[in-house]
């Protein structure tokens, strides 16, 4: 093989080939990670977003009725043909799973629809044969079976869900709804709940983040000034609770904070208070315990940034005549901004997803949004609503992250 002259086309080609091979190898090496991210992160999030707007139950189960109700004015009683179409649709559902899904979907729109739909479904499988009757007769039989079929709200719910996609879950997640004419309006105050819960979630997270910062900053500073051996021993004290199960720590807080617990006994013995304080099953308990659990996430990034700040700057400032405190805030603290930014962001984002701690230590008005997501998934089995709340939480988190980037003007760095 001859050696190609510098700059010759042959050399360039060879170089390009080598480069391409390298890129391929690099890609092949990162491929497992990319695939992993795709499978465990992007696909589930995509599925969640799709579920939040997907609405197949009504169209799948009632193709004839939804087509027929498309022309209905939604203000007068639906035509007898609609009754017949509904009975035909229900009669042709072979899988009772579809009827169950339809009943669940309509019930989350109009409470009571579940028993109405399932009752009528059972009748259509038995004595109510739409194909052997005139539409008028079907109407009479359905009204005789359950007089609620005369109420327009059930028919409106069917007509409203004639599309395979719906904005309703997302609208409900921000306390809005579509009215009869399809206009978007606010829900009545006694049903407005999720904006309040979202604000509460952010409120609790902000307080926890701030307390973590106030407690973690001095501790991290102290650790960073100690000799390595001592710092390592103390660091273990920070990390041991970090490795303990959250449930165990929650249980420990119950023991400490209850009415006859250690904290109250100590306060009573020291005559600080006259009667035991209520520290549990309210906001106080939630914040104390969440701060404790999340503190390491604040201390670790702060500590790693502080370790890299040379102590000479502070000494130089003081020797140039600055008061020690002013020097600390004007010279030292600005150098730890990246640590503060990373720590607060980490703690805040972790805390908005908290579920177990508020569920076990909080009252009914201290539950964060995950509690309601879990309720929709497990108790109501209304996954559309759960996904919509998840999507709102995701959107809010992304907005906050972009605000953070604007303010800090840097990527998230962990020191």
């Amino acid at each position: 093989m001859s050696v190609a002259a510098a700059g010759s086309p042959e050399l360039l080609r060879t170089l390009a080939r080598v480069q391409a091979r390298r890129r391929l190898v690099a890609l092949a090496l990162t491929l497992p990670l990319l695939l992993f991210l795709l499978a465990t992160f992007l696909v589930p999030i995509g599925a969640l977003l799709v579920r939040a707007v997907e609405n197949p139950e009504v169209v799948t189960a009632l193709p004839r009725s939804t087509a027929l109700l498309a022309d209905w004015d939604r203000k007068s009683e639906p035509p007898a043909a609609a009754f017949a179409a509904l009975a035909t649709d229900l009669g042709k559902l072979d899988r009772s799973a579809d009827a169950g899904a339809l009943a669940r979907r309509l019930n989350s729109e109009v409470p009571g629809a579940r028993s109405l739909v399932m009752g009528t479904y059972r009748a259509t499988q038995d004595e109510l044969r739409a194909d052997q009757l005139k539409p008028e007769q079907v109407r009479e039989q359905m009204l005789a079976l359950d007089e609620r079929w005369a109420e327009l709200k059930y028919w409106r719910a069917i007509a409203k869900n004639a599309s395979r996609w719906t904005p309703d879950y997302l609208l409900t997640a921000v306390d809005l709804r579509r009215n009869v004419d399809g206009e978007i309006e606010k829900v009545s105050p006694d049903l407005a709940v999720f904006t309040g819960i979202l604000l509460r979630t952010f409120n609790i997270s902000a307080v926890v983040t701030l307390t973590c910062l106030l407690l973690g900053y001095p501790l991290a500073y102290w650790l960073s000034t100690l000799p390595a051996r001592k710092a390592n021993v103390l660091m273990i004290l920070v990390l041991v609770p970090f490795w303990t199960s959250i449930l165990v720590r929650v249980a420990a807080w119950i023991v400490l904070l209850q009415r006859e617990g250690l904290v109250n006994k100590a306060l009573l013995a020291l005559n600080v208070v006259d009667a035991p304080l209520t520290l549990l099953f309210n906001r106080t308990g939630v914040i104390i315990s969440m701060t404790h659990i999340l503190l390491p996430f604040m201390i670790l990034p702060l500590y790693s940034v502080m370790k890299s700040v040379p102590p000479t700057y502070l000494r130089a400032a003081v020797s140039l005549g600055s008061a020690p405190l002013a020097a600390f805030f004007r010279v030292y603290v600005p150098q730890t901004w990246p640590g503060i930014g990373a720590g607060t962001l980490l703690v805040f984002i972790l805390s908005i997803g908290y579920y177990v701690t508020p569920a076990l230590l909080g009252g009914a008005s201290d539950q964060m949004i995950s509690y309601y997501i879990a309720q929709y998934i497990n108790v109501d089995v209304n996954w559309g609503m759960a996904c919509a709340l998840g999507a709102v939480l995701l959107a809010a988190t992304l907005v906050l992250y972009s605000v953070y980037r604007r303010v800090v003007k840097a990527e998230l760095s962990l020191g």
Partner: protein, 343 residues
């Protein structure tokens, strides 16, 4: 010697799949109830059927069953579910329909225990509980529960609308028989929430069934709503917790078989065995939940009977939980409760 060990090991390995086939996964809520089921049902069944019972604990999450059935990877064979879920799961075809001819005469069971997809396994009750060592006069009904002048202090209540709305109406003077009729109306729901508001600042909320006895023993609350079995368990530990049975809400838990369970026949055998009067009376002796097989009652002595929600004295003024009402209104009322809690 060595070869025999090797052969034995290989034989054991070959035998494993055969063993695995006669394994039954039974899912329950754990705790004292799980322990009682193990003794009264699992162990006798293992002996009688020669199958191994694998007990799994869960917290009533129907999402898990739904996910298993939808992906057709059903690893649970028998599951204990609460009454609203047996109806809903049956409607949505998550559970197998049961062949009652294999389960015994329907007439032997309480009416509510007979379901096309499930067999009621025990009757439990949500009741008013208190620590008799700490209260001079015992509260007797929900009006006393709401009376903060006569009984100052906090009250424990389950976080959520279910049961609490019924209790609020009873405290407001609605007769037990009329509770669901009133609650179904718009004004009735309004009235229940208004009554709850009157007590709001005195409520300490609980999440798990184990909490109310702890609250009561610790003196955090003077009274609490509680599951009667948990109070019974605390009594067995020597605590002087008592129950005011009037106005308690009783309900059933059911055995169901998730649709597509590979061990359906064995699961049916298990349910049949766990529904016999003998097994159910053993169970009731271990935890004070009432048998659903009425033939189990004569096998119990007066002391055990006195603790059961199904005994005549205890069920005299009790309310049966209305599955249909909560299946229809549950989601809306829970949402309203969340909104109410924020106000």
């Amino acid at each position: 010697m060595k070869t025999t060990t090797l052969i034995a090991a290989i034989a054991a390995c070959l035998a494993l799949p055969a063993l695995a086939q006669s394994q039954l996964t039974v899912v329950n809520f754990g705790g004292a109830n799980g322990a009682a089921q193990k003794k009264a049902y699992f162990e006798p069944f293992e002996k009688a059927a020669g199958a191994k019972v694998v007990a799994v604990e869960y917290n009533g999450e129907q999402a898990k069953i739904k996910a298993m059935v939808e992906t057709k990877k059903v690893t649970w064979d028998v599951v204990e579910v609460e009454s609203p879920d047996v109806n809903r799961g049956c409607d949505e075809a998550l559970f197998e329909r049961l062949d009652w001819s294999k389960l015994g005469p329907k007439a032997d069971f309480l009416k509510a225990a007979v379901h096309e997809c499930g067999v009621g396994t025990f009757v439990w009750s949500t009741v008013l509980a208190f620590d008799a060592d700490k209260l001079k006069t015992a509260p007797t009904n929900w009006a006393d529960f709401w009376d903060v002048k006569k009984y100052p202090g906090k009250r424990g209540m389950r976080k959520g609308a279910r049961y609490n709305l019924e209790f609020a109406l009873m405290a407001d003077g609605v007769k037990t028989a009329d509770v669901y009729k009133v609650l179904a109306t718009k004004d009735g729901a309004e009235r229940a929430f208004k009554k709850l508001t009157a007590l709001k600042s005195n409520i300490q909320w609980w999440e798990a069934g184990a909490q109310p006895p702890q609250f009561l023993v610790a003196g955090d609350v003077v009274m609490s709503t509680a599951y009667n079995g948990r109070i019974d368990a605390a009594q067995r530990e020597g605590k002087n917790l008592q129950i005011a049975w009037a106005g308690g809400i009783y309900d059933l838990d059911y055995w169901v078989i998730p649709k597509g369970s590979p061990n359906k026949d064995l699961a049916m055998k298990y349910i049949a065995m766990a529904s016999t009067p003998e097994a159910q009376s053993e169970y009731a002796k271990l935890i004070s939940y009432g048998p659903t097989n009425v033939k189990a009652l004569p096998k119990l002595d007066a002391k055990v009977l006195g603790q059961l929600p199904t005994s005549p004295a205890n069920s005299k003024d009790a309310l049966q939980f209305n599955i249909k009402f909560w299946a229809d209104q549950g989601e809306a009322l829970e949402k309203r409760f969340a909104s109410w809690a924020t106000q």
